[in-house]
Amino acid sequence: MTVHEREGMPGNEDAVATSEHGTAPARREAGDPFPDPGLHEHQPRPTDVDERAGKRAERQIATMFVLSALCTLLFCVAYFVFQVGDDPDVIMGFGASNLALGLTLGLALLLIGIGTIQWARKLMSDVEIVEMRHPTASSETDRAETLQALDAGVSDSGIGRRPLVRNSLIGALALLGLPAIVALRDLGPLPGNKLAVTVWRRGMRVVNDVAGTPIRPEEVEIGQLINTQPEILFETEDGERTYEGTELLQAKTKASTIVVRMQPDDITPSAGRANWGVDGILCYSKICTHVGCPISLWEQQTHHLLCPCHQSTFDLADNGKVVFGPAARALPQLPLMVDDEGYLVAQSDFTEPVGPSYWERGDA
């Protein structure tokens, strides 16, 4: 493509192309302290001046496109050849199907991309183009015409002269907000005290998570950690679980606990908590008071419980006090006792809301 053809192309009127063997003259506008340096001297590429180099580049690019086509075909072959499911094919420890599909499709796309860029760099026209800047605003005449049309519309509709029409229109538009409120009303109402209470009750057994087995204090050793749940989450009525699905998960997010046992001498219960444990066995909420991650990373020698999300650290020997990290409140403790059959049970629900702070909670 010659320069003259390019200049005649539509939509490219402002593009100032340099002549093929020269540079644009340096322009200098009045009062401009820095003269426009213009464009550097144009140098042709080998493919522009050497017929053989051009042919070679052509072959290179075509090879990439052919390889890409080959990869696409290999993708289709791999899709049917490699087994997935229970007994998958394996290449070097990787799933063969995923590996082959990913590699072939990735290469197919990559080779098209590389070929296209190589095409543009080696064979497509190589002239420097300058595009002048324009003001972004519409032209003065367009703006005047628009304002004129608007004025004509206002005076024609008589919106200022007919208040009845105007006001009823405003009323109708305002009422259009109502469907949105009706349709989205189930986002509310406010949760009430749901955030402040859990399913724990007086006398409810503390059971091992996953297994659902109740725990006897004599089975728990010093330094032991047990991930626990309230027994009601494992309870069944006529073969169906009392809590299921969403309800179960919602109950679990608040009621999950951990039970730990420490040397009774190491524990320093705060006022009123002296009888909240059973021979050094204490129960705490498993939900971090920062943003509610489940925490069970317990160091048995330091008695520190760590949250893996943001490194909040609670001292379980000291009423769950925060010793490090962004959590603002101590970890809520569940008071424990032993029932008639010798199993660990709760004395009551948590005495404060578990988990992260929320607006209605009032403090911290």
Partner: protein, 281 residues
């Protein structure tokens, strides 16, 4: 009585007959005892000698930190130099010495897994000595941690127990993780079934105890079976970058992913080779 027996003896030929009968009776009793309970006597003798051997090894290799009788040594600042070993049981010794964690090379935040120093016989001798100090968990039997005949259901259940109890420290793929103050939860890759079982049982270092009363032996075995099945799984999604999660993946995306994008951008924008040929002077 004495008169009667004297008279009876007197009627026999020798006055020494009574003494002979007594000696005979003692011999029979002693002989019977020796025949009926030789095994117990021999075992306790052998175990006693094992304990003695273990004690000798303990005095050389362990006593400098744990005390001559395993009572532990407290520093002047009140911290533990070496914790007391009374009641830790044979399982703790088998785990700590069997994985090379003990004897420690130097005091530090954590005893590291390293080359095992003692032979299996020496380890069991030391375990016998420490077990004799106080009641504690014994070395588990092979059946307890043998996962060769575990079915799929147990593996799935083991996975649930693992995710609930272990992943907080050991990571979802059991490759371990960091703890504060230079401590860490080690990777479980390459740890034998027995040592995983013993670690659960005894709670070494910062690890909590998972006693058999709460986490049943079958549940422990399911966890071990799950860990073994995880190791055998092919990497469906390609390289897992060590299974370290978002940190490794993010680092890879930023350095390699965005790095190669930058590389392509530079290549696209770079001017290709120019020729002096055909340029009019």
């Amino acid at each position: 009585m004495r008169l009667i027996s004297a008279r009876l003896s007197a009627k026999r030929r020798s006055p020494l007959a009574g003494l002979v009968v007594l000696l005979l009776g003692l011999l029979v009793t002693g002989g019977l005892y020796a025949v009926l309970s030789p095994a117990t006597a021999q075992t306790s003798q052998a175990s006693q000698s094992t304990v003695e051997k273990g004690r000798a090894l303990f005095l050389v290799g362990c006593a400098s930190c744990h005390g001559k009788n395993g009572e532990g040594i407290v520093t002047k600042r009140g911290t533990q130099y070496g914790p007391p070993l009374v009641g830790v049981g044979a399982a703790a010794v088998d785990f700590q010495v069997g994985t090379g964690r003990m004897p420690m090379a130097r005091p530090g935040a954590q005893a590291e897994k390293k080359e095992v120093v003692y032979t299996p016989e020496e380890i069991s001798a030391m375990a016998a000595f420490v077990a004799s100090l106080g009641p504690g968990p014994a070395i588990p039997e092979r059946e307890a941690y043998d996962t060769s005949d575990v079915d799929n259901e147990s593996v799935v259940r083991g996975g649930e127990f693992f995710r609930t109890n272990c992943t907080a420290c050991h990571n979802f793929a059991a490759v371990g993780g960091a703890l504060p103050g230079g401590k860490y939860a080690p990777s479980l890759d390459g740890v034998s079934n027995k040592h995983i079982y013993e670690a659960l049982l005894t709670g070494p270092q910062q690890m909590p105890v998972f006693s058999n009363g709460v986490l049943k032996p079958s549940e422990k075995r399911d966890i071990i079976a799950y860990l073994n099945s995880v190791k055998e799984q092919p990497k469906y999604g390609g390289s897992n970058l060590g299974s370290y999660g978002p940190v490794a993946e993010g680092l890879f995306a930023w350095l390699v992913g965005i790095g190669s994008c930058v590389g392509f951008a530079i290549w696209i924008a770079s001017s290709s080779v120019r020729s002096k040929k055909g340029v009019k002077a």
